[in-house]
Symmetry: C2
Subunit: 475 residues, 2 copies
């Protein structure tokens, strides 16, 4: 990846000592082996380096770190669970890593106000579990939930499978505690559903990928826990049929429609071929599949789902469908959805996209992108799947059978360009849920409203005039 | 009200002509009689004055107006339906009024993507109707919906009765078109549910009350239209019981619980006494009432509501309840809720508050506020009612029976101070849904996080360095 940020001056031993003194030597990591997990990531797509990983235990310590960083113009890279997919959490130029993981307290759970206040380093799954323990739902859910942190989820405005009914991470935050570049602490933590006292500040930091300040805590919404969740796996002859089924489902289930995932036939092919103990839930293959879920606080989820499928069959939209009869069958359906990405690996190189278009445009997008990509690289195999209910498609492309992997992957940007052009023509986004990081930074000015880019630069200059907050990311 | 903004220099005839040339003379109003409706408001609480009301017909015209205003340091007061309650839309110092009402086109309705793009001057009720015409719901709903505009709704982040299930105005916006102070046009209009390409800009303008730029259009979310709406009027012995009923209702109905309004007994007293053809829906009086609604896309709303009430009776929470048997009975229940404010008028002066506290704190807030207010002004009569499901209480106080109205109203700020102190102690907001405008501007620095105020000032200086956008409002 092309990263143009100039490397900062190496930190003096004295400055390293001053930073370590803030958190205590134990939590100011300088040992290279201990640093490795903070500067590498699972896919080995990005590798950074850093002389120092700071692991503060309190907001006051984060504030002191920012203040010293500001005084000494030391660049900081904030990091949560280190599961980001666009290189946003990696110190590409030897920056100091500020790991929030030790700040993992749940400060407050209020079941009457339906709120939870948690520190940035709390792991998403821990929050889900804590909500469940008090008979509530924290609906943010994504693949990395066992290790990603709520601070990272908010900094990247994570999406995931719960977004259809409950919205993305942004929709779950009532307020934030944020340490600014100069060490000031902004506190908009709040249990209030309504508060119209002045400008909305917390949304500025959500999705800013740590470039405007460091989220140290958040007040979050809780929801009633569904009593019944019913899941169906549906075979269809076209993506247009899937879109029609979505409309029927929303009209029948409204907010009870909690998942609506689209999968192309090739996804099933790959999963059945390469996934561990994966089998096709239907008796024959179909060009398209939908994995859908209806959740309800009452006992009507199954009846609702049956009504949707009956209507779909009646209207000639649904070719075949099976409903999960028990939890293990439900888990098997979801397993299929989750192994698509790993199941692509044995098929060779994969060029990935995380795009969104208006929901109505999804079928046209897939059709146009498929023919453009195959025209560009004959034999390449589009593997489209994703959150149809959000218009969010993980448009992956596997290399031609028997082709050279490197030759294929070298054309990553060419394929991107072809796909992004179609996305933009349709009023879509080149990053639906993963963010910009360094991966898409250089494309951003070309795809975003010019005035929006100008405002982003003004906001960055206002909040981080010395460019010490995750420099070189996003902008 | 204490408004400290210095009056701008009077506009020269030449400058007035230049502004009128942008919109055409017909839409550059200088006639005093024609100007009156733009500088006065229904309650006669605020009266402003202006030499010129501009009524642009396009975003390009708004941009040209801003550009000229910026070049000539002319202050602009943007205005929608002129229904705001905090003086935010009034030209208190002879500013030019920029009325968006002519820009009322609905640019696009997309029933598959569930989005609608409308210009700022579109009246809320028109948008509701247009959504309904295509079998969708636009859930923003408030008293002024027949005349307020979506631009004003977004600029003030309106709440209303639909917020419990669907959120406030902010939650319904996917993107905005905004004319900045210098005439640049920011375009974040979007039909996308997920878009993580850079900083979130549109939320900065939502709730900014026209002080950062002029919203000219918005892309909005549509929802499935409920098939069945069931309404109940419930008598209870305490506000704690109302809170317990809310919890039961949310657990039973989740997102299908679309209204949960709390009313104190005195509200019913006033309504029955003064409201036109209002009668008490229950056979005897109770200390507290809840007006609640369950909406569903299927035919289960009545069963759900019955289950909630049965559980409430079983748990000793609900003392009496009646469900609307038809549309006119439903309308009668809502009428009761809507005439509370007018029904206070024959009882003399009323000091009003639009506050929110965490939902769990509502009973304690009402109890503490009641005793503090009555201690301050013996004989004064608290009239608390509002959106319990959002923790948003319209905490009104009627004057003592037979007392002097002016003497009572002169103590407005004293009563505010007593109520706000309790609100703040409980982590609440002094403006839940009406905004700051000029009414609460001077209180804002005392109640808001210090760093938040500093950031608000920095943002204002960045976006409107000449202070021409609705000067003297909010900050």
């Amino acid at each position: 990846m092309n990263i143009v940020q100039p490397p900062p001056a190496p930190l003096s031993p004295d400055l390293i000592a001053r930073f370590r003194a803030i958190v205590g030597d134990k939590y100011g990591v300088t040992d290279a082996a201990e640093i490795t997990p903070y500067v590498t990531e699972e896919r080995n797509l990005y590798t950074g380096h850093s002389p120092l990983v700071l692991r503060p235990g309190s907001t006051a310590e984060v504030s002191a770190i920012s203040k010293l960083a500001s005084e000494t113009r030391t660049a900081l890279v904030p990091q949560g669970g280190n599961t980001g997919l666009v290189g946003g959490q990696t110190p590409h130029h030897g920056e100091v890593v500020l790991s929030l993981r030790r700040m993992d307290k749940i400060r407050d759970v209020d079941t009457q106000s339906n709120t939870m206040t948690a520190e940035a380093g709390a792991v998403l799954q821990t929050l889900q579990q804590r909500a469940s323990d008090v008979d509530r739902l924290f609906p943010l859910s994504l693949g990395a939930e066992g290790s990603c942190t709520i601070g990272g989820n908010l900094s990247t405005n994570a999406g995931g499978t719960g977004a259809l009914a409950y919205g993305v991470a942004r929709a779950m935050a009532l307020g934030l505690e944020v340490v600014l570049a100069d060490g000031r602490v902004l506190n908009t933590l709040s249990k209030l559903k309504k508060d119209n006292t002045g400008y909305n500040l917390h949304n500025l930091f959500i999705g800013a990928e740590g470039t405007l300040g460091i989220i140290t805590a958040a007040s979050l919404k809780l929801f009633p826990k569904p009593r019944a969740v019913e899941t169906a796996f549906v075979g269809l002859h076209s993506s247009e049929a899937a879109l029609k089924l979505l409309e029927i489902s929303q009209n029948e289930a409204a907010g009870s429609l909690t998942s609506f995932e689209l999968l192309a036939e090739i996804c099933i092919d790959f999963c059945v071929k390469h996934g561990p103990s994966i089998r096709d839930p239907l008796s024959k293959r179909y060009p398209w599949y939908v994995l859908m879920e209806v959740s309800s606080p009452r006992d009507d989820a199954r009846a609702t789902l049956e009504a949707i499928l009956a209507r779909g069959i009646e209207d000639g939209i649904v070719d075949d469908a099976v409903m999960a009869e028990n939890l293990s069958q439900r888990a098997a359906f979801w397993k299929l959805r989750e192994v698509i990405s790993p199941a692509q690996k044995p098929e060779g190189g994969s060029i990935k996209h995380d795009v969104s278009v208006p929901i109505a445009a999804v079928p046209a997008f897939i059709e146009e992108a498929n023919s453009a990509v195959v025209k560009l690289i004959p034999g390449s195999r589009p593997v489209p799947f994703g959150h149809l209910g959000d218009g969010n498609i993980h448009y992956n492309v596997s290399q031609p059978v028997g082709g050279d992997t490197k030759t294929f992957l070298d054309r990553w940007h060419e394929v991107n360009a072809v796909v992004f052009e179609i996305v933009l023509k349709m009023g879509g986004s080149i990053s639906a849920e993963h963010g910009i990081g360094v991966m898409k930074r250089d494309e951003l000015p070309d795809v975003k409203d010019k005035v929006a880019i100008e405002l982003m630069r003004s906001i960055k200059a206002m909040l981080d005039p010395l460019n010490i907050m995750n420099p070189g990311k996003v902008l």
